[in-house]
Structure formats: structure tokens, C-alpha cells
């Protein structure tokens, strides 16, 4: 029997050949449009502006300054090279003590210093992506399910399900109460799962929420804790956006909630990361903090599959233990995010676009329901294509977050400079004014429907690092751009 390309599909695993990697969704059209025509203020001012990437680019100057002032934080500089061999050899899955201490301190600080985190409970993973997957491996078996309030981070579909074999049962949240997670909705989702013989092992939430940009209130959090206690299931809290909170209400970690509640702590697990709060997604710093000893020990063993580079641990240990730097960074970052958020939301308000009231995250949740020709996903996607193709903004449609209400869009604002912000706002203004020239909302819709809604690109650009600039970075584009050499047979 020959190993022909026809047989390829059967010769790989089911996991390898299913679609749970998530890359075959229409969502990726937006990425393609951006990648083939990326905005640049001088080289390509008509290009697509990337507003679909939740990155925090506002505070690099603070980190760069710190790096220049602390050369011994790098094991490769003259000042730090004497630590090189010890660090290069260090692959202990407990992680560098100073690194864990720095992370624990940061988490405590971000939680308003109302909780102390134990450095000995800190477990590493390959980014929050690795952390969420690892926690699922620890808590549930293939075929089991986790309840996930919608709208939720699009990649949960992959991270929670792909290799673990788990299922997601969405808990629908509605705009009528600002997408709050209600006990009723949780109970309904749980019962529905039970009736379909789906074994629910837990709930996973993101607080602050992606894509909403809101923080959970105390009442909701207490309700979640009591729900999982009643059902004896787990609660995983992804707090990756904890330090992106500005203004009020403040961020409350689940760790703080359980301090004041009767509950089974073995059910509570936190996922954290430096990718959003500190803007360091490339460094792959994922953290699992579980109150359950067995889960902590298991996750730690599993961390062998995704440890943080010891070189990176060493650098971050120095940085995070510099309390003055951290304090200043968190304050400044909040300030800048608040300002950016304000500029955008006020700008949108002026042209009649409302957004969900939020004070966290690197994005806001924009309400375009009035502009839909009908309240359907199809109409939402049509509108989205217009926004990408004509307004030239890559925003993310609510359907990619499993939002049960069509018409909402997530718009990222922290991954660009101030000039680009103005260009984006100007484009939105123009777009809304065009619409207003015709009568009413329905006219606007008709106007777009007549447009050619097919995406069209200029010549495709191959991924090329030398072209990267702060305006054009698309490091997380999932499009496989590197041309593969065909195997010679």
C-alpha cells in the first residue's frame, strides 16, 4: 500500500484532520484583507487599519527605558553574562523563585493589594493559550463540557477543545442587561447540557471580559462561586486583562471573592499572563494559579510541555521585582488606556455610534445594530464586509465571539499610534456621514447592499519581516503565508 497524498487524511489523527484549530472560519477574511493591504501612514495611507488585534502597544517606552537602565537583567550583556550558564541550564518546572515572586507580587498589586498570592502556587505555561488548555486537561475528560458565557474570546474554541476533546456549552448573555452573566442563564445552560447527556465539569469566564471590555461586579462573581459550589463543578477565571482596567469599577480578582465566602476552594483556578497587561505576547508568559493542590501539582508537571524560557524568566524576575517600576507602569498604562478609550468612544458618540459602557480591556464593544438591514448574522457579516472593504478597518464581528445578538463588533484601540487613531476615526465619521446623506437607516442599508460586497485585494504580500514597522505589524496573523515547498515524491 502506498503512502500517497490521497491517503494523507486517514494517516493523520482525528485531531489533526478536524477543524477545531479554528482557522477555517469566515472570520479570517478580515485578516487576509489586512495582510494583503496593511495601512501605513506614508507608504500605504489607504490601507486597512488593523483593529482586530488585542495588543497593548501603549507603554513600550517605559519598558525600553527600564531595559536600558538595567542591563544586568539580561544574561547576554556584559553586566549579566556571569549568570548565563546557571540560567541556560535551568529547566526546573517549578520556575525561577524570583520569577514566581515577581508574578505573585504583580498579581497581588493588580488585584488592588487585597489578596496575597503565594509564589509557590505559581505554575508556568506556554502563554495563556497553553494555560487554558492545560487547566482543561487537568479538570475534564474528552467529551466533557465547560460552560462559557458568550460573547467569548474566539480562540477558546480551539484552546479549550482542540486537543482536549472537550465541548463548549455557551451561556447566552444579552444586551438588555449589559451582557451580565445571570444565575438563570447559567442554570438554563447547565440543565440543557444535562438533558443532552453532556457532562458539565465547570465554568470558564474571562474577567475583565473579552470582547466586552467590562469587569465583573461582586454580585455576579459571588453568584458564580455559589453556582459552581452547588453543582460541585470548577470555576476557571481568565484574568489576563486584569491590569488593563482604568477608572471604576475596579478589578476584583476571584481570589478576593473567595476570601469572604464559604466555598470549596478546590474548585477555583486562575489563569493569568503578561501578554496583555504588559504588552509582551512574544515572551509566552502564561500562569496557572489554582487553589487546588492536586490541580497545581498536575499542571506543574504538565508545564514541561510549555515552560517559560529561563532567559525570559530571568529578565522578568528583575523587572517585576522592581516595585517602583511596576507601580509606575501600572499607573501610566491605566492612564493611557483610559485616554485612548475616551478618544475613541467620544469620537464614535459624536457620529451616533454607541458602545457598551466599559473600563477595561484593549477594545470596546461597538453597537452597530441600528445599521443592520435585519437582525441576523448574515446581515452582520455583510456589514462587516463593508467595514473592511469600504471603510478599511479590520474590526471583529460579534458572531466570531458567538454573540447571540447580531450587530455588535469588537474594536481594538491599543495597538496603534495616535495618528492612526485619528485616521480610523475620520474614516468612521466619513462613513456615517455618507449614510446620513440618504434618508434614514434603511436607506443606508440599501446603499450598501448595492455595493459589490466581494472582498478584493491588491496583489498579495508575502510575509516579510523586513517590512515590519509599528504601523504594519501583523504578528498574529494566522494565515499560513510562508509558501511550503512541496515534498518531492
Amino acid at each position: 500500500m502506498e503512502f500517497t497524498r490521497n491517503n494523507n487524511r486517514q494517516l493523520l489523527s482525528k485531531i489533526a484532520t478536524n477543524d477545531r484549530h479554528g482557522e477555517n472560519t469566515p472570520y479570517f477574511e478580515g485578516w487576509k484583507a489586512y495582510d494583503s493591504n496593511p495601512f501605513h501612514p506614508t507608504q500605504n495611507p489607504q490601507g486597512v487599519i488593523q483593529m482586530g488585534l488585542a495588543e497593548n502597544q501603549l507603554c513600550f517606552d517605559l519598558i525600553e527605558k527600564w531595559l536600558l537602565e538595567n542591563p544586568d537583567a539580561s544574561i547576554c550583556t556584559a553586566e549579566g553574562v556571569d549568570r548565563f550558564r546557571d540560567i541556560a541550564i535551568f529547566q526546573d518546572y517549578h520556575g525561577l523563585k524570583e520569577f514566581r515572586q515577581g508574578i505573585a507580587k504583580l498579581m497581588g498589586r493588580v488585584g488592588g493589594n487585597r489578596v496575597k498570592f503565594d509564589p509557590n502556587r505559581i505554575v508556568m505555561s506556554g502563554g495563556a493559550t497553553g494555560a487554558n488548555e492545560t487547566v482543561m486537561f487537568c479538570l475534564a475528560d474528552p467529551g466533557d463540557a465547560f460552560l462559557v458565557p458568550s460573547p467569548y474570546y474566539a480562540a477558546f474554541s480551539r484552546d479549550l477543545r482542540w486537543r482536549t476533546g472537550l465541548e463548549i456549552v455557551p451561556v447566552d448573555c444579552k444586551s438588555s442587561n449589559n451582557f451580565r452573566i445571570t444565575r438563570t442563564a447559567l442554570e438554563e445552560a447547565y440543565e440543557k447540557a444535562q438533558r443532552s447527556n453532556i457532562n458539565v465539569k465547570g465554568v470558564i469566564i474571562a474577567n475583565p471580559s473579552n470582547p466586552l471590555g467590562t469587569v465583573l461586579d461582586k454580585e455576579t462573581m459571588r453568584s458564580l462561586v455559589s453556582f459552581v459550589n452547588d453543582k460541585s463543578i470548577h470555576l476557571v477565571c481568565d484574568e489576563i486583562y486584569a491590569a488593563t482596567v482604568f477608572g471604576s469599577p475596579r478589578f476584583i480578582s476571584i481570589a478576593e471573592i473567595i476570601q469572604d465566602m464559604d466555598c470549596n476552594r478546590d474548585l477555583i483556578h486562575i489563569v493569568y499572563s503578561l501578554s496583555k497587561d504588559m504588552g509582551l505576547p512574544g515572551f509566552r508568559v502564561g500562569i496557572i494559579y489554582s487553589f487546588n493542590d492536586d490541580v497545581m501539582n498536575c499542571a506543574r508537571k504538565m508545564s514541561s510541555f510549555g515552560l517559560v524560557s529561563s532567559q525570559t524568566q530571568f529578565l522578568l524576575a528583575a523587572m517585576l521585582n522592581d516595585e517602583e517600576f511596576v507601580g509606575n507602569f501600572l499607573r501610566e498604562s491605566s492612564k493611557r488606556l483610559a485616554k485612548r478609550h475616551h478618544v475613541f468612544t467620544k469620537g464614535l458618540e459624536r457620529v451616533g455610534i454607541s458602545t457598551l459602557k466599559s473600563n477595561a480591556g484593549l477594545f470596546f464593544w461597538m453597537d452597530m445594530r441600528p445599521l443592520l438591514k435585519e437582525q441576523t448574522v448574515q446581515a452582520e457579516i455583510e456589514l462587516w464586509r463593508v467595514i473592511i472593504n469600504k471603510v478599511k478597518l479590520n474590526v471583529s464581528p460579534g458572531s466570531s465571539f458567538q454573540c447571540s445578538e447580531p450587530g455588535w463588533f469588537r474594536v481594538c484601540f491599543a495597538n496603534m499610534d495616535d495618528e492612526t487613531v485619528q485616521v480610523a476615526l475620520e474614516r468612521i465619521r466619513e462613513f456615517m456621514h455618507q449614510g446620513k446623506e440618504e434618508d434614514g437607516v434603511s436607506e443606508k442599508s440599501k446603499h450598501w447592499r448595492k455595493q459589490n460586497l466581494r472582498l478584493s485585494f491588491s496583489s498579495s504580500r508575502l510575509y516579510n519581516e523586513s517590512l515590519m514597522s509599528p504601523h504594519m505589524i501583523s504578528p498574529h496573523s494566522p494565515i499560513p503565508q510562508s509558501p511550503l515547498v512541496r515534498a518531492r515524491t
Binding site: 500500500m1 502506498e2 503512502f3 491517503n7 494517516l11 493523520l12 482525528k14 485531531i15 489533526a16 484549530h21 513600550f60 525600553e64 531595559l67 536600558l68 542591563p71 539580561s74 547576554c76 550583556t77 553574562v81 548565563f84 550558564r85 541556560a88 535551568f90 529547566q91 506556554g126 502563554g127 486537561f137 479538570l139 482542540w162 486537543r163 465539569k201 460541585s232 470548577h234 465566602m261 466555598c263 470549596n264 478546590d266 509582551l280 512574544g282 515572551f283 509566552r284 492536586d294 508537571k301 504538565m302 514541561s304 510541555f305 510549555g306 515552560l307 517559560v308 524560557s309 532567559q311 525570559t312 510575509y463 519581516e465 509599528p470 505589524i473 499560513p480 515547498v485 515534498a487 515524491t489
Partner: protein, 438 residues
């Protein structure tokens, strides 16, 4: 203070409660003994010497020298302008310059006898992650991989734990220097069939851990033929490829494919890492090189769970693309490992101990079977305990590597100074003398 309520025990996953992580094996008891009483030349000269850790510590000075002379690798440039791009870079394709550097490095190690395309390189956080990831892609839960014994104990966890895949051993023994034979492969395949297990692939380590020897070309050909006939995958873990004592003695599966014009190459996948050759296990640098497009694409997507820190990619891209550095490193590293190997082999010989003839790796495969009370695993473990507690050396018993012949031990020699190695050899000498007298 919250009142403690009655806590019903909440289920964790089957994976979490299984013991497939492997840490309860006696192999790890040796670690404990070392951790509790570690040798130190000055402060604890009678402590346990760690010879169970396959680390390469002989060439750090070369790395340090490079860093001292090349500040561009250590920083992100004057005023750190490259910092933000690097910190943001989480593209699972990996830094192109790094992949290019890895491809070149792998070519240099093989003396230019094989070519590697940087676009076929997938990056993972260590070979640990690479092997697990490949298993997820090549096999379904309940399927089997064939692995020649003795093998790296970590495979039990890496290939089986979260994947649910089984290992069926291909038994090798000293009668032919533990080489894989077609008969042994057939026997393993039949054994899997009899257990109703679907065999999806064969995984070899070349050079071998724990044997410390390269696989001969003729054997590689037989293994590839076997995989082709059974229509299964072939994974070649070449993590020790840069640690062969002589460049010409290591034949990579890539070279075999090259000679065959890459026919049937879509079933072949190579795992590599910088943990052994460059002595950088902390940096978590693993790679998968596959000749199968679909595997490359899928592995790349899966690597999202285990990417290499962009900071580390940047450093190593600089270092490894410096041809002068990498050529000198490979050559010097080889020479020093050879020197260490000769030192330990001669030292053991003088003590009356024979080893398998080796030509690679960071360890030797020592034969203590003449010392066993009985040719059993229990006897081997009893002897191991004596060596651990009385001779105070942590070496690895063959049974922890699933060796079917009792009495063999893996002894690492590259993770200590020469002086410490002398002390270790001295202790072995004394131990053997005492045994002869009794």
C-alpha cells in the same frame, strides 16, 4: 475567617489522576537522593554526584565568549528599537531569521550532507513539546507507537500522558549491540496487533539515548522500509545529533531520504532541540521538521500552545547565523565530548567495567550485569540502590529505560567538571576493588 464546609471531593480528569506522568518511578528516587545530599567539591565532598542528568556543560565558555563579543545579540539594538517588535512577535511561524539559522545549524551538524528548508521548521518549547505534539498529530487515543528499547524514560510521559497513545517496545539486546532488527520490529508490530492496537508510527532516537551510539545507515534503511511497508510514520528524534564525536559517523534519516530521492518522505518527521548540543535546556528550544505539508501546517497551528519566547528566538538567531561561531562551536564541542568520553571509558575499564561501544551523546551505557546476583530487574534495582547510597553516584538503571536485559546503566559525563568526574571514577574504582576483595 471563613468556616470550613464539608468538601465533597471534586473529580479531576482521568489524565490528571493517572500516573503516566511517570514521576513515581524509582528513577526519580535517585533525584531525591541527590537533591537531599548534592556533591560539592568544597562544601560537600562526600555528597551524591549527579550522573543521571544528560546535560552538556562542557562548552559554555564558547557561548559566553560569543555574547561578550556580540552585543547585538544581547540587546535589541542601541536604544532598544527592536524591542517592541520582538516583544509583540507571537506569530506561530516563528522568526524567519531564527528558522533560517536553525536550518543552517542542522545542515552544518550533518556536514552539509542534508539540506533543510526553513519553511518546514516548526518551533516548540523544547523537544518534550515537539514529541507530544507530533504524537497528537500522528495517532489517535488508544493507538500505538513502536519505540526501540532501551529508550529515554521521558517518552512514557511525552508520548502517552495527555495523548492517550500507547508505546509498544521493540526489544533490543546486547547480542548485536542493541541494534534494531527487522525481526524485532515485526515482533513488536505483531504484539501490538495481538493487543488490538493500531500502530501509527515508529519513533527512534538517533543518536540513541541511553545507548550513546548512532544508528547505522543499513539499520536506518531497514527502519524506513519497515515503516513504508506497514504504511506508518517514522519520527527520528535527533536531539543528540550535534553531540556525535565524529561528524561523519552520524547519519541522519534526512540523508537516507536524500539518497532515495525523497521517495516516501511524507511519512518522515525529525525532532531537534538545542537543549543538548548547545547546552541550553532552560531556553526551551525544540523543532519539528516534517516532509509532510499537512503535518507542518497542523504542527504549526498546534505550536500556539508551546511557542518559543521571541526574546530567545532573537538571541539564538543572531548566535547561530554567525557561521564562524557555529562552525567553531560544533567542532570544539565534539572534541571536548570525545575527550570526556575517552576519560570515562578508560576510567571504567581500569575499574574492570565494560561499556557499550559508543560514539555520541552525553553518557555511556555501562554493563554491570556481571555484578548482579541474578539476571533480574530486582537485582538491578538492588545494585542501583547500593551505587546510590554507598558509592553515592546517581546513575540511571536500565530498567527505567525499559531495557529488557538487566544490569545496564546509563552514566552521564558532560554535566560536571573534569575534577568531579575524576572523583566519581575514583569512587567506582574503590567500589569495584572492595567487591573483588569480598
Amino acid at each position: 475567617m471563613a468556616i470550613e464546609i464539608e468538601k465533597p471531593s471534586v473529580g479531576l480528569s482521568k489524565v490528571a489522576v493517572s500516573e503516566t506522568h511517570g514521576e513515581d518511578s524509582p528513577y526519580f528516587a535517585g533525584w531525591k537522593a541527590y537533591d537531599e545530599n548534592p556533591y560539592n567539591e568544597s562544601s560537600n565532598p562526600s555528597g551524591v554526584i549527579q550522573m543521571g542528568l544528560a546535560e552538556n556543560q562542557v562548552s559554555f565558555d564558547l557561548l559566553e565568549k560569543y555574547l561578550e563579543e556580540h552585543s547585538e545579540a544581547s540587546s535589541w539594538g542601541e536604544g532598544a528599537p527592536g524591542f517592541r517588535e520582538n516583544a509583540l512577535f507571537q506569530d506561530y511561524h516563528g522568526l524567519k531569521s531564527f528558522r533560517q539559522a536553525m536550518a543552517n545549524f542542522m545542515e552544518q551538524i550533518r556536514g552539509g550532507r542534508a539540506k533543510f528548508d526553513p519553511d518546514r521548521i516548526v518551533l516548540t518549547a523544547g523537544a518534550t513539546a515537539a514529541n507530544e505534539l507530533l504524537t497528537f498529530i500522528l495517532a489517535d487515543p488508544g493507538d500505538a507507537l513502536l519505540v526501540p528499547t532501551p529508550y529515554y524514560p521521558g517518552f512514557d510521559r511525552d508520548l502517552r500522558w495527555r495523548t492517550g497513545v500507547k508505546i509498544v517496545p521493540i526489544h533490543c539486546d546486547s547480542s548485536n549491540n542493541f541494534q534494531v532488527t527487522p525481526e524485532a520490529m515485526e515482533a513488536a508490530y505483531r504484539c501490538a496487533e495481538s493487543m488490538n492496537l493500531k500502530v501509527r508510527g515508529i519513533l527512534i532516537t538517533n543518536p540513541s539515548n541511553p545507548l550513546g551510539a548512532t544508528i547505522q545507515r543499513s539499520v536506518l534503511e531497514q527502519i524506513l522500509d519497515f515503516a513504508t511497508n506497514k504504511n506508518i510514520h517514522l519520527v527520528s528524534d535527533e536531539i543528540y545529533s550535534g553531540s556525535t564525536f565524529s561528524s561523519s559517523e552520524f547519519i541522519s534519516i534526512a540523508e537516507v531520504l536524500e539518497t532515495r530521492g525523497y521517495k516516501d518522505s511524507e511519512r518522515v518527521h525529525i525532532v531537534y532541540s538545542l537543549s543538548k548540543d548547545l547546552g541550553l535546556p532552560g531556553f526551551r528550544v525544540g523543532t519539528i521538521y516534517s516532509y509532510n505539508d499537512k503535518v507542518v501546517t497542523t504542527a504549526r497551528r498546534m505550536s500556539s500552545f508551546t511557542l518559543i519566547s521571541s526574546q530567545t528566538q532573537h538571541l539564538l538567531a543572531c548566535m547561530l547565523s554567525n557561521k564562524e561561531f557555529s562552525e567553531n562551536y560544533i567542532k570544539t564541542n565534539r572534541e571536548r565530548l570525545t575527550w570526556r568520553y575517552d576519560m570515562i571509558i578508560n576510567g571504567l575499564k581500569n575499574a574492570g567495567i565494560e561499556c557499550l561501544k559508543g560514539n555520541a551523546g552525553l553518557f555511556c551505557w555501562m554493563n554491570l550485569s556481571p555484578l548482579l546476583e541474578e539476571p533480574t530487574r530486582e537485582s538491578e534495582l538492588a545494585l542501583w540502590k547500593v551505587i546510590l547510597n554507598e558509592v553515592r553516584l546517581n546513575i540511571s538503571p536500565g530498567s527505567s529505560c525499559h531495557c529488557s536485559e538487566p544490569g545496564w546503566f546509563r552514566v552521564c559525563f558532560a554535566n560536571m567538571s573534569e575534577q568531579t568526574l575524576e572523583v566519581a571514577l575514583g569512587r567506582i574504582h574503590k567500589f569495584m576493588e572492595q567487591r573483588r576483595r569480598n
